[in-house]
């Protein structure tokens, strides 16, 4: 496989993490709206969402950091 | 808005179980197969329950109560439902949404009264019972939790009837099947907030108690102790 193809595949895999993070964020926003519709415990819903969303964003961030870090710092020409 | 509640007078109750039968037929509650029944999967929304035997032989008396859903004002089952398949209506009835239920049975595990029942299999009623199914109540699919709903379909019918007759809902327009058939007239039913209603008066009787009240569930089904 060409290096270019490999990079694209790698990039797509990485983007899954971001899709996960974004969709989880979106889902949690939805759940908080649902919770307000259903008159559920608001504080609990919001704090859980904030915690969970942060975790997923950090995880995605770390992974991207590694990905770009590794690619940027590769030996030239290799 | 009304807040429907029930008071069962144990002094009048004769444990005849008519409420049990009436509930079963009114709500098309499944009659499980003998094999399932022996595994402890019978479904009763209303059940006679012997709480304890008081006294020593021969002066011994069972304390038996008809037990349906307590329709708690602070229902533990609703708190834990992950999908809002159970909720409290504005008239205080703890209702079930069968098409929403995912069958996780968390509500069953958290009900201190163990009133909820689960459809372990697809509903298959004996032919003679199936023919008598009440068309007002849907038959639950397999894999969902169900329980007493204070015959909420009767409330809907009564409300529509009252609306068609351009009047307000009156006391006695809406009673669950168990109340209607009780031979001893031992079950009072009505609006707890209406201070003039029989049920509201009965619920403040000195004999009144709620089952496991100490848990803070505020059951809207209350009992009147038998007089000794």
């Amino acid at each position: 496989m060409k290096d270019r193809t490999i990079y694209i595949v790698q990039f797509i895999t990485l983007s899954f993490v971001w899709i996960l993070a974004v969709s989880i964020t979106w889902w949690f926003i939805h759940l908080v709206i649902v919770a307000s519709e259903l008159k559920d415990a608001q504080t609990a819903s919001i704090s859980i969402s904030i915690l969970a969303v942060t975790i997923f964003w950090i995880l995605a961030g770390v992974l991207s950091y590694v990905f770009f870090g590794l690619h940027r710092n590769a030996k030239a020409g290799a | 808005m009304a807040k429907y509640g029930m008071v069962i007078d144990l002094n009048k109750c004769t444990s005849c179980q008519a409420c049990v039968t009436a509930c079963k037929l009114e709500n098309n509650v499944q009659i499980v197969s003998p094999d399932d029944a022996s595994e402890g999967r019978t479904m009763f929304w209303m059940k006679m329950l012997t709480l304890k035997y008081e006294g020593d032989y021969p002066n011994v008396k069972p304390k038996a109560i008809p037990r349906n859903c307590m329709q708690c004002d602070e229902p533990p089952c609703i708190k834990v439902c992950p999908v809002r398949a159970t909720y409290k209506t504005e008239v205080g009835i703890v209702a079930q949404i069968y098409p929403q239920c995912i069958g996780c049975r968390y509500c069953m595990a958290n009900c201190p009264y163990t009133v909820k029942v689960f459809n372990w299999y697809k509903t298959e009623q004996p032919k003679e019972v199936e023919k008598c199914d009440n068309p007002d109540v849907s038959v639950r699919p397999k894999g969902v939790v169900e329980k007493c709903t204070f015959c909420v379909h009767r409330l809907q019918i009564a409300e529509e009837k009252a609306k068609a007759e351009h009047r307000k809902l009156q006391e006695g327009d809406y009673v669950p099947a168990c109340v209607e058939v009780c031979p001893a007239k031992a079950i009072y039913f009505g609006d707890l907030d209406d201070t003039n209603s029989d049920v509201s008066k009965a619920s403040h009787d000195y004999r009144a108690f709620g089952l496991l009240e100490e848990l803070g569930t505020i059951p809207k089904v209350r009992y009147l102790n038998a007089i000794e």
């Binding site: 496989m1 790698q10 895999t13 889902w27 949690f28 939805h30 759940l31 649902v34 919770a35 259903l38 559920d40 609990a44 859980i48 969970a52 975790i55 997923f56 995880l59 770390v62 950091y65 590694v66 990905f67 870090g69 590794l70 690619h71 710092n73 590769a74 290799a78 | 399932d36 595994e39 402890g40 019978t42 329950l49 533990p76 834990v80 439902c81 992950p82 999908v83 809002r84 398949a85 929403q100 239920c101 069958g103 996780c104 049975r105 968390y106 595990a109 201190p112 009264y113 163990t114 029942v117 689960f118 372990w120 299999y121 697809k122 397999k142 894999g143 969902v144 089952l211 496991l212 848990l215």
Partner: protein, 454 residues
Amino acid sequence: MAYQNLNDEDEVLFKPIYETGRGFYVLVAILVAIFLFGLGCYIRQLILGLGVTGMDEPVTWAFYIVDFVFFIGISHAGTLISAILRLSKAEWRRPITRMAEVITGIVLAIGGLHPIIDLGRPDRILHLFERGRLQSPLLWDVTSVTAYFTASTIYLYLPLIPDIALLRDRGGKLQNFYKILAWGYQGTAKQKHTLERAISILMVMVIPIAISVHTIIAWIFSMTLQPGWHSTIFGPYFVVGAIYSGIAALLIVMIVFRKAYHFEDYLKEIHFQYLGTLLLIMSLLWTYFTFAEYLTAFYGHEPEEMRVFLYKFTGGYAPFFWLMVFCNFLLPIIILSNRKLKKLPGILVASIGVVIGMWLERLIIVIPTLANPRLPYPTGIYIPSVTEISIFAAALSAFALGFMGFSKLFPLISIWEIKEGRLQSVHEVSKRLREYLPGHPEEKQVEASVKAEI
């Protein structure tokens, strides 16, 4: 492609990836058969309904939930232990961390499926996304298990990158696969630094996530009003139990693969001694928690609590309860505190005992409470059906298959960490040790003592 001996120093670690014996295939066939049987049972359950299980009223949660708690518990083996060991710079961790992390990944995936197996209407699972309610502990659980699974997979993957790069550089099978996964890692100092930084961030993150996962599972039970569940120490109690069973599972896996893949040179007696000591400590901690839990229930003597208590101590579940006490308390303490018995076979026996005991503990937590509702309903004894047992067996074989599959793709012992240890750590540790010590001991003297330690 056939295995080429490149005469690497750690050649034995590469060998399982390229060479597969007949025994392996036989075992895989057996495990696949078991798994398929379980799958068949599940499909039958899907079609007919949950009636095919042994669950009844009031025991509406049984084997599946027990297994769920058990598997998620095992998953603490890994990531948590490896993170703690890495964080505390325990040098003996190097050959262990990988296996621990793999256990976590596989077991979490299996355990996370169990609540879905337990659902009456798995076809409506999307309702959780559409109309989920964050105030239900089940949603907390969905969240935390997902987060833990994501985090631990990443935490497994990042330290794997250098090894993947090694595999890629060796050439041979699955070139493109390794190329993609290696993320262009070439072992430059900067790359190494990036990786190490990311790992240390994750290390710190994973610990609270892992603890939260089992705490939340405990909360599923303790948020209810039921006697025997409604307890404040359930969170930490479950976490301790989880780590306990995790270490035991890790020990079993280590002993098995040491034998199967000839890792004797890497997994030395000392590793088992250390982990065994950790197991002993967790055993005592677990016993302490159990004692505290039951003593308060007993001393309070609430009738409902006592019904559950007596059901466990003298009633229907007494055999399981006392077997659990034996497996989780007596057996590990006898074996692990005895210098003569604390050898590999002894540790294996103790670990197997602990895993069985911890499974029983989950059983004893879930079922007696449900079997003794507050109101005096007559109840029988819960007996699992073939479906539940075979799905449990299928889950176990899926775990074994997953682990074996992993061992055929990636090295089970972190090669780069071993190499790193060999190249740098001796020096680093001796330097670190010097700093601990009062005065300024001679470098060589310390180095000798460090070598003796490792």
